[in-house]
């Protein structure tokens, strides 16, 4: 039995996860990384997919409480270019459609095992992405509720076409009072003409990094706190935002109508012909996708896209000088729109997506 409150983990499951993550944090330079994904498919049925792609994986359910399930997994994968077999452990926490991959293994394992696993499971498993504003909101809530100011160590910011920069101001400072508040990092990124992509913050009880790609990494603190203030809220934020992508294909509309999505950017990103060309070049690098340039940018751009992963199609056109219109075609899945929006977010510019008709 559990006495958990909404948004929190059941007590005994929380204790188990806190103990697991503590064992990782207790190691020298120990960190825990959590990647969040959304799925309609039970985790158990995804395991076979991983095996099909050459990952030897064994998962055992170790706890189950109040609709939460915790799996302990061991995975091995041959990496020919390194002439090695990569092995390691991770845990998977699932509840309804949310899935959290938790590991205390080294960064190499996270990059070469956890991330590929999520990639393999696409389109059944969709990795979350966050907007800068959403990260700000989460940090602000955390700081308010825990009644402790959050200061930052470093942050990354991105500029047009996904160009990334790092700002590490404080590595030599010792006095905690000399560190600036997390709000200053957001302001600084904006002043530099970009938007914050990831940030490392700390207070008395916690020390963690949160990124727009949905990755949460912590060096200090308990898993149950991170679940309560971040992971659970990330799922809520993203599922609300992704509702926009649901049932958008023309074949799903009773009158076969088109349901476009408007992506609005803060800056006039399409007022320059060179930027339009660069935008096409950027889209041509979008993986597992075919495209056609129907109208090449005088004055507007119009392209058709075919996501080869699940054969979804949609068109993309510039709308004025600061927006894009994404028009789903006959068959367009939510997964394809999520994948494309994430690509835009990471490789072009952050924008606000809304239903065009509304």
């Amino acid at each position: 039995m559990s006495d958990s409150q909404p948004n929190t983990l059941p007590i005994s499951l929380g204790m188990i996860l806190n103990a697991i993550t503590k064992s990782h944090l207790d190691k020298p330079r120990g960190v825990v990384r959590v990647l969040t994904a959304i799925t309609d498919t039970p985790f158990k049925s995804l395991i076979d997919d991983f095996r099909r792609y050459g990952i030897e994986i064994e998962c055992t359910e170790v706890a189950s409480e109040n609709g939460f399930n915790l799996w302990s997994c061991t995975a091995a994968r041959r990496l020919d270019i390194y002439d090695m077999v990569l092995t390691g452990n991770f845990h998977v926490l699932t509840k309804n459609f949310s899935t959290f991959f938790i590991t205390g293994e080294k960064l190499f394992f996270y990059k070469k095992m956890i991330k590929p696993i999520l990639k393999i499971a696409y389109p059944h498993l969709l990795r979350v992405n966050l907007h800068t504003g959403e990260i700000f909101k989460l940090l602000d809530e955390f700081s308010t509720k825990t009644k402790t100011p959050l200061k930052y160590n470093d942050f990354w910011y991105k500029k047009l076409f996904g160009e990334a920069f790092t700002v590490k101001k404080h590595e030599t400072r010792i006095d905690i009072e000399d560190y600036e508040l997390f709000e200053d990092a957001f302001r600084e990124a904006r002043n530099r003409g970009g938007w914050l992509d990831r940030i490392t913050v700390f207070n008395k009880n916690s020390h963690f990094t949160i990124a727009r790609n949905g990755m949460l990494k912590f060096k200090k603190g308990t898993f149950s706190d991170y679940y309560q203030y971040f992971l659970n809220n990330i799922v809520d934020l993203v599922t609300t935002r992704w509702k926009l992508f649901e049932k958008k294909g023309r074949s799903e509309q009773p009158k076969r109508e088109v349901k476009p999505i408007l992506v609005k950017f803060e800056n006039e990103v399409f007022d320059d012909a060179i930027l339009k060309k660069q935008f096409i070049q950027g889209l041509s690098k979008y993986p597992n996708c075919s495209y056609s340039v129907i109208h090449g940018g005088n004055p507007h751009l119009y392209l058709t896209m075919l996501d080869r992963v699940d054969n979804s199609s949609f068109s993309v056109r510039t709308y004025g000088t600061n927006a894009l219109l994404i028009s789903p075609q006959i068959r367009t899945t939510k997964a394809a729109l999520v994948r494309f929006s994430t690509y835009l977010l990471n490789n072009f510019q952050e924008g606000k997506m809304t239903d065009f008709q509304s």
Binding site: S290, Y291, H295, M305, L306, S312, L325, I330
Partner: protein, 341 residues
């Protein structure tokens, strides 16, 4: 580094085909814009449709005006939208000869007997071409090279950024000639500004006009939009012309329901597209069942339209050079005879 002649030829061909597809796209936008404009503003003049078959000589010869308008009891306008004109006079005259056909009594109007008492011709000419074309038209009509017996009105049009609104518009401006329809004359004299951004949702539903599109345009649309709804895997699959048309009937609904039209896409266009897919190696014809094809989707084509254009251009160049070689061979065969003669 300079291109070799073959590469140069290929690049010219690709450039032309790309432009053709783009022009077709712009024609669709202009047609949609006109339809939308008249539906919102006109009381008398109405947009008829883009599909019904129009014919002259008592139904013997089909004509394909881009837009058909009707007004009053039995009056109409046949519109021809041009996105470019040839520079060569022979080809230009040939292209304008189309207007001679439009001058004849035509069949296919939205009346009980499909006929009309009188109609005018409205030519949409790109802004950059207006001066040249109007001069040529005048000369050829005066010298009798062109016989246009109906009222001919010429409008120039172009897609441009309208700074006042910060919006992209299609501007239509009357430059010469008059039409019997007072309402339409007035609209055109005051310039028509169509907001392009408002046309894009309708474009997704209406991608084809009554005119046959460049084959690469249809090949791209079917590959990107129709095939995924027939088979959602990334494997090869079998389909038929009927399967494609069944989807087209649902999603590319006709602009009107006149004359038993079911879709914007015609069966003959799909047939040609399937044939071309086979010729460039992305489809195979079923050996036993007529009208059935295997679509070879295994090829990871990055830029679909460009791929289709390149393959077809290479095919055209190859065929032309074969033809030239054959001609040369014929010449050399005849030479000894010539010599002995």
């Amino acid at each position: 580094m300079s291109e070799n002649p073959e590469e140069k030829l290929l690049n010219i061909c690709k450039e032309n085909r790309r432009a053709e597809c783009d022009r077709y796209y712009q024609t669709v936008l202009l047609t949609l814009g006109l339809k939308d404009f008249l539906e919102r503003n006109a009381k008398e003049c109405r947009f008829i449709s883009t599909e019904p078959r129009f014919s002259i000589n008592n139904g013997e010869k089909e004509i394909k005006p881009d837009v058909v308008l009707q007004y009053g009891h039995k009056n109409g306008v046949l519109c021809e939208i041009k996105t470019s004109f040839p520079f060569n006079d022979v080809h230009l005259l040939d292209s304008l000869k189309q207007l001679e056909n439009y001058s004849q009594e035509s069949l296919g109007w939205d009346t009980t007997d499909r006929k009309i008492d009188n109609h005018d011709i409205l030519l949409f000419c790109p802004m950059v071409d207006y001066d040249r074309i109007s001069l040529k038209l005048k000369n050829w009509m005066e010298t009798g090279k062109l016989e246009i017996t109906k009222n001919l009105c010429i409008c120039e049009w172009g897609m441009l950024l309208y700074p006042k609104w910060g919006k992209e518009i299609i501007l239509i401006r009357k430059r010469s000639g008059e039409m019997a329809c007072e309402e339409l004359n007035l609209f055109l004299e005051n310039n028509i500004r169509l907001d392009v951004s408002s046309l894009h949702t309708s474009y997704e539903e209406c991608k084809f006009t009554r005119k046959e599109p460049p084959i690469e345009y249809t090949m791209t649309q079917l590959w990107t939009d129709v095939f995924p709804s027939i088979d959602s895997t990334d494997k090869e699959f079998e389909t038929s012309i009927d399967d494609v048309l069944a989807i087209a009937y649902q999603f590319y609904i006709p602009w009107s329901n006149l004359e038993g039209e079911f879709s914007q896409i015609r069966r003959t266009w799909v047939k040609k597209v399937m044939q071309k897919y086979c010729e460039i190696g992305v489809a195979e014809k079923h050996l036993e069942i007529k009208g059935k094809y295997k679509i070879l989707r295994g090829k990871k084509i990055k830029n679909i339209q460009e791929y289709m254009i390149e393959k077809l251009c290479k095919q055209t160049i190859k065929e032309k050079s074969k033809f030239q070689i054959n001609e040369q061979e014929e010449d050399t065969k005849q030479k000894p005879l010539d010599f002995f003669d």
